[in-house]
């Protein structure tokens, strides 16, 4: 069946299977492979818990891997878009190549703005060397403006005061700042190179309060070991790209603050 609509933003083709626009104060969640696959695991859980509909996708023959996703016998693009009420989720288990990410960030930013999104929300893992020993994980936030900081004011999480962020979210945040799109990144301590559903669950508990939707993480925690098994190949595929991006800089401390 032909898509309802498609348009090119830069070199990316945005496809819509069904017309959609967020209602009210719209939120856009972007989930790409990063440390511990925290964002992808979290987004997958939101999509399932909220019963979100797959409304579209993003593709590019030149800038994305030559991948076709087959989902419940339907043919889908490597980057998938889900929508419901005031929420759009842009979800990919495939890491775009490093030169592609800035172009993709601009295109996604543009698309979300056109769909009525007011805030871009991202969740990821903050790799820490002692994650193996940690019982209680800390969560930090990075906000592009004071207005966005208001969203996490009473949520008892700490600002990411100083340091480096490396990877797709660093670029998305920079693009969001450049275009004045309110954006927030939640970072929970996580493994760098193992899927970390516990960190995803913690991010989701905070995210649910921000977007005003109840997201039950009990099933995510109960299924954590199965998710860790299923996510292994995606994690394995993401690591070389993250390593090339010099993710190790995140362990460094800036010399001058």
């Amino acid at each position: 069946m032909a898509p309802h609509r498609e348009e090119y933003i830069g070199e990316f083709r945005f496809i819509e299977y069904t017309p959609f626009r967020v209602s009210g104060e719209g939120y856009g969640i972007i989930a790409l492979p990063d440390s511990g696959l925290v964002s992808v695991i979290a987004a997958g859980h939101i999509i399932k818990q909220l019963g979100m509909e797959e409304i579209g996708g993003v593709d590019s023959y030149s800038s994305l891997p030559p991948v076709l996703v087959v989902s419940k016998r339907k043919l889908r693009t490597p980057i998938r878009i889900f929508g419901k009420d005031n929420l759009i989720v842009i979800y990919s288990e495939f890491m775009p190549s490093l030169p592609t990410i800035p172009v993709l960030a601009r295109a996604v930013n543009d698309y979300l703005e056109r769909k009525g999104v007011k805030y871009i929300l991202m969740t990821s893992g903050l790799p820490v060397p002692n994650r193996f020993e940690l019982e209680k994980l800390k969560t930090y936030y990075v906000a592009t403006s004071e207005n966005t900081e208001e969203k996490v004011k009473n949520l008892n999480i700490m600002p990411f005061e100083n340091g480096y962020l490396v990877g797709p979210y660093a670029i998305i945040l920079k693009e969001a700042m450049r275009t004045n799109m309110e954006s927030l990144l939640l970072l929970t301590e996580a493994f760098f190179d193992f899927p970390d559903p516990e960190a995803s669950a913690q991010n989701l508990e905070i995210l649910s309060k921000i977007i005003g939707k109840s997201i039950d993480v009990k099933e995510l925690i109960e299924q954590a070991e199965i998710i860790r098994i299923k996510a292994r190949d995606t994690m394995k595929a993401a690591i070389p790209n993250l390593t090339k991006m010099r993710k190790d800089y995140e362990y460094s401390t800036p010399i001058n603050i």
């Binding site: 060397p129 193996f132 020993e133 760098f192 190179d193 193992f194 899927p195 954590a224 070991e225 199965i226 860790r228 098994i229 299923k230 292994r232 190949d233 994690m235 394995k236 595929a237 070389p240």
Partner: protein
């Protein structure tokens, strides 16, 4: 004069040999990376290869092996020269019904993995911790 030329040619030959060695090492590394990336993380005989990471910490090497759903009592470690061989059974046989078609019907029962280090391992210098389906090995280099 001949002596000078001979010395120069020797330097050129040594340099050429060095460059060939570097190219050979780099090609081997790339080949190994490609081979690893194309390997599946599971076999049709129900074996899962665990994810692992290796990190240097002073004179110790830290290895983390991720084995969710493992029966911790069944974990076996063998040290063969510079290799750590990890085997373990899963707590219960897993049949992932929504696994891609390729793996459909496969029942996963155990983990098997081999981790190579750049030095010979002395088993008496290995300490092991287990937590939430993950193994930490601290190996002190001689």
């Amino acid at each position: 004069m001949d002596e000078e030329i001979k010395k120069m040619m020797k330097k050129v030959e040594d340099f050429e040999k060095h460059v060939r060695e570097l190219i050979r090492e780099e090609l081997s590394r790339l080949h190994e990376e490609l081979r690893e990336s194309l390997e599946t993380s599971w076999t049709s005989k129900g074996v899962l290869k665990p994810l692992y990471s290796v990190r240097e910490e002073g004179k110790d090497y830290l290895i983390y092996v991720d084995m969710p759903n493992v029966d911790e009592g069944s974990i076996e470690l063998k040290f063969v020269e510079n290799k750590v061989v990890v085997t373990a059974k899963l707590r219960e046989t897993l049949k992932l019904s929504d696994w891609p078609f390729r793996g459909e019907g496969t029942s996963f029962k155990e983990y098997q993995g081999i981790i190579e280090l750049p030095f010979k391992i002395d088993p008496s210098k290995v300490s092991v911790r287990k937590r939430k389906g993950m193994l930490e090995l601290r190996i002190t280099r001689e």
